[in-house]
Every structure is written in structure tokens, then in C-alpha cells.
């Protein structure tokens, strides 16, 4: 009888231990999954924020309230990771977003890696209006790639030489965003787990 009780205790301890380990493992995986989802939501939000600003700028590429003030080439510098183009920035005194008729320029450039974040892949996405200082955005952008297209849809190799800037009819933008604070994964503690969100706008048409 006493022998049976000891066996029961040992058996229940083993089964209880297995259940407890399963529960611990399950909790760890659930925590990691939740963290991944949170990171992906943050990455998607960052992507949308970056894209919203960029879309507003690129959609005005070549636009000018006084059309005769705009002259070719619209894109004045075109490389794979940087661009400068003419536009007419919104006049703050007009609620409609209409420009003031004076030709402005906007530059975008993909800067140096951001050292302040744990992610080694993200880089600064820089934006400049006219000759002002560059403003940076550390939103976890890991890919910023520009492709320049002619009116027939053919791509022009980057960087586009000055003699071919007039041929640019549309710009294609590719952006990838990762979470800025990756973490060690339960399944692979030696590597950093990152979440990747991709976006591509096939065409930004020059307006002029």
C-alpha cells in the first residue's frame, strides 16, 4: 500500500511537471508572438507615416500653381537612394494646400545607419525643402529605392546623368520598414528577430 502511494506521487509529479513545462513553453511562445504582433503593428504604423509624407511630396512633383514658372527638368538629381525634384510647396496661408506659385525643391536621401536603435539595418530617411537643413526620420526604414521611368515605361539606369533627366516621366518608390527594437528569439537566441513590412508605389507621375 505504501509502495503504491509513492508510485502515485512520483507519477503525478512527472505528469504535473510535464504540464507545467508545457505551460511555461506555451507562455514564452505566446509572449513572443504578442511582441511580434505589436512590433508589426508599430512597423506598419511607421510605414504609413513615412509613406503619407512621401506621397504628399511626390504627388506634387512638377506641380506649380503658376504653370509657366515650372521648367524642365522637373527631377534635377536622380540616384537610386536620393532624389531632388521641383515642386510648389503648400502655401500656409491657403487652406486648400495650393502652392504660392514660386518653384521650390524637395530632396530625399537615404542616410547613415541609425546607431540609437537596436536594429543594425535601419537608416535615416532624410528630407529637405529648398536649401534648408535636412530633417531626418528614424522610423526603421531599411530599404529606400527609387527607379526612374520614361514615358514608355522603360527604366533609366541610376544615377541618371544630367543629359537624361528630361526623359524622367515617372518615379517608382520601394520602401521596407523593420521594427527598430528587435529582440532575441526563444527559438534562436543568437539572432535578432525583426519584423519586415514592405511597400511599393509603382508610379508617381510628374505633373508638368
Amino acid at each position: 500500500m505504501g509502495y503504491q502511494v509513492i508510485l502515485d506521487i512520483i507519477g503525478s509529479s512527472i505528469i504535473g511537471g510535464l504540464l507545467f513545462l508545457t505551460l511555461l513553453n506555451f507562455t514564452a511562445q505566446t509572449m513572443e508572438t504578442k511582441q511580434t504582433y505589436r512590433d508589426e503593428i508599430v512597423a506598419q504604423e511607421n510605414l504609413v507615416n513615412v509613406v503619407t509624407v512621401m506621397e504628399e511630396d511626390f504627388r506634387r512633383m512638377g506641380y506649380c500653381t503658376v504653370r509657366s514658372n515650372m521648367s524642365n527638368p522637373i527631377v534635377t538629381m536622380a540616384a537610386a537612394e536620393s532624389v531632388r525634384f521641383k515642386t510648389d510647396l503648400p502655401d500656409p496661408t491657403k487652406a486648400s494646400g495650393e502652392g504660392d506659385g514660386v518653384v521650390d525643391s524637395i530632396s530625399y536621401a537615404f542616410g547613415a545607419p541609425v546607431l540609437a536603435t537596436a536594429n543594425p539595418n535601419d537608416r535615416m530617411l532624410l528630407r529637405r525643402e529648398n536649401t534648408g537643413p535636412y530633417g531626418g526620420s528614424s522610423m526603421g526604414v531599411t530599404v529606400f529605392h527609387l527607379t526612374y521611368l520614361t514615358s514608355t515605361g522603360d527604366s533609366i539606369p541610376s544615377p541618371v546623368p544630367a543629359a537624361r533627366l528630361n526623359e524622367i516621366n515617372a518615379v517608382e518608390v520601394t520602401i521596407s520598414v523593420e521594427n527598430i527594437n528587435p529582440y532575441s528569439s526563444v527559438s534562436g537566441p543568437d539572432s535578432l528577430a525583426t519584423v519586415l513590412v514592405n511597400w511599393k508605389q509603382l508610379t508617381f507621375q510628374i505633373k508638368n
Binding site: 504582433y37 515605361g153 522603360d154 515617372a170 519586415l196 511597400w199 509603382l202
Partner: protein
């Protein structure tokens, strides 16, 4: 005879299994929402891309006006309204999008667009005349055309979409805008 201890162990196993299954189901649901969200972002950008292409100032408002500009005065616009095409669609010899030279060439365009690491999207474009007073699509000639772009994601080897089903139809991103001939006048 089954002892009470065994029943407790079985109940504990069932409880744990239910907990895990519930959590997995929640995770699957969240995962699907995130995938649909990313697909939606890209579908909107594809629709915007086509709107940008169709609103290209280099395109003519109508095929009949490619080599026959209309002057911005009422008399010329009234007299030349009948010149506009009744047939809206690609014209003879236009086999690819790069050959399209007027707005309505995009009508009934049905194509696929693939974005690396995201997926493939089904794109459809429709162009029709637009009556701005009635605010409705019409079949008679107008100086306005309504452009509609529909984008749906695709599941490989399946007619299904990741986007939520809506009234038993394929859900899709749909954007529309009106092109006015006045935009083409300089």
C-alpha cells in the same frame, strides 16, 4: 477502476489543451488581420499608381483629340463634342500600357501586378463618361470621364482573396476619380 487522480490529470490535460487551442486561434486571427492590413496598404498604393498613370498630362483626353485640340471656348467645345469616341477602350495597335495615348485606353484593363515579398494583385480599370450635373455615369459623350480602379489581392492557385468577403463578392480596394477635359487645356 479509474482512480480520481487519473480523472484530475485528464481534466488538467483537457483544460491546458483548450487554453492552447484558444490562444492559437486568437494568434491566427491577429496574424490574418496584419497580413490583410499590409496587403491593403499595397493595394491602395497600386490603385494610386494607376490613377497617377491615367492622370498623366502626356495622355490625351480622347483618341479623337490626340491630333485635334479643342480650343477653350464654348463654341468650339459644343461643336466638337460629337467628335469624342463612343467606344471607350484601347485603340487599334495598342497592345501594351506603354502604347496607351488617351485616358479611355485603360477601360477594361485586366492585369496582374506582383510586389516582391508581398504578393500578387489583380488590377481592373474602368472608364466611362461622367455627367457632372447628374453626378452619374452616362453612355453619351461628355467632357468628363470617370475612371475607376479596382485592386484585389490573390491567393495562389485559388480565386479567393485575403480581403474580407463582402456580400459574397470578392472584396477589393476601389478608387475612382473624374478626369475633366479642362485639365488638358494649357
Amino acid at each position: 477502476m479509474i482512480r480520481f487522480e487519473m480523472i484530475f490529470v485528464i481534466l488538467a490535460g483537457i483544460f491546458l489543451g483548450t487554453l492552447i487551442l484558444n490562444e492559437k486561434e486568437t494568434n491566427m486571427s491577429t496574424s490574418e488581420t496584419l497580413v490583410v492590413s499590409q496587403l491593403g496598404i499595397n493595394a491602395v498604393s497600386i490603385a494610386n499608381s494607376y490613377i497617377q498613370r491615367i492622370s498623366n498630362p502626356a495622355l490625351a483626353f480622347d483618341d479623337s483629340l490626340v491630333a485635334n485640340a479643342v480650343q477653350p471656348n464654348a463654341a468650339d467645345m459644343v461643336s466638337k463634342l460629337s467628335m469624342l469616341s463612343l467606344y471607350l477602350g484601347r485603340d487599334a495597335g495598342e497592345t501594351s500600357q506603354s502604347q496607351f495615348n488617351d485616358v479611355d485606353d485603360w477601360n477594361n484593363l485586366d492585369t496582374m501586378v506582383t510586389i516582391d515579398n508581398v504578393g500578387s494583385f489583380h488590377v481592373m480599370c474602368y472608364v466611362s463618361y461622367w455627367d457632372p450635373i447628374a453626378s452619374a455615369k452616362v453612355s453619351t459623350r461628355q467632357w468628363y470621364k470617370l475612371v475607376e480602379v479596382a485592386v484585389a489581392d490573390t491567393v495562389p492557385n485559388s480565386p479567393a482573396t485575403h480581403f474580407f468577403q463582402f456580400n459574397d463578392q470578392r472584396a477589393e480596394i476601389r478608387e475612382q476619380f473624374v478626369v475633366s477635359y479642362y485639365k488638358f487645356l494649357r
